[in-house]
């Protein structure tokens, strides 16, 4: 069970990081390296935050539905 959870947690972090990196780098085409890094981190934070938030909403609905 612990392994199952750990693998899914790793997947959440890894997959959002990869997507943020690819999209973020291509969006910040002509920016300075520091700005690019910040943009990629921002993309990652938004993706991760959205997914965790969505997960929490689903979890709360699940709790409320009994």
């Amino acid at each position: 069970m612990l392994q199952y959870g750990a693998i899914h947690l790793f997947s959440l972090v890894y997959l959002t990081a990869v997507v943020a990196l690819v999209i973020g780098v291509q969006e910040s085409e002509d920016r300075q390296p520091r700005e690019m890094r910040l943009h990629v981190l921002g993309c990652w934070a938004k993706l991760l935050g959205s997914l965790v938030g969505l997960g929490l909403v689903v979890y709360v609905i699940h709790l409320l539905s009994g």
Partner: protein, 150 residues
């Protein structure tokens, strides 16, 4: 009178570049010039690594199954297959493994992590489609000729 923007000049036809970029993720961008080479290598490693993790988790690329009466599930199956194929040669090898019955390449559909592994492959394929479209966009950039030579 304003002069027209310089036409894109690539070592190969943009559509051929897309085909190469699809077949070997990241390779299409290598042909866009030295400015994009480091980025291309990073994308090449990322897409392949993501697909490899999916394979190690027991995932695989399998042809979609038409389920009578379940239009939604059938549509999801076809879309997943299409997106997984975006990963290029690794996806084709996995698909061949499915037809040849090689479990190490096609995954174990009864395995606990099959769905998760297949999802890794889907992400790898989607990212590669994105990279291919971006590479094509770059060849249409007005100042591309100068960038490619720099």
């Amino acid at each position: 009178m304003a002069s027209a923007p310089a036409r894109a000049k690539t070592p190969m036809h943009p559509l051929l570049l897309c085909l190469v970029g699809w077949l070997v993720p990241g390779l299409g961008m290598v042909f866009l010039g030295t400015r994009y080479r480091l980025r291309a290598i990073a994308f090449l490693v990322l897409v392949h690594l993501t697909f490899l993790i999916g394979l190690l988790l027991g995932g695989g690329v399998a042809p979609p199954v038409v389920e009578p009466g379940l239009l939604g599930m059938t549509a999801i199956g076809f879309l997943t297959f299409f997106m997984q194929l975006g990963a290029g040669w690794p996806a084709l090898v996995s698909l061949l493994g499915h037809f040849a019955g090689i479990a190490a390449l096609s995954g174990d559909q009864a395995g606990a992590y099959y769905e998760l592994g297949a999802f890794y492959m889907l992400v790898a394929g989607t990212l590669n489609y994105f990279i291919v479209c971006h590479s094509y966009d770059l060849t249409k950039k007005p100042a591309f000729e100068n960038l490619a030579d720099s």
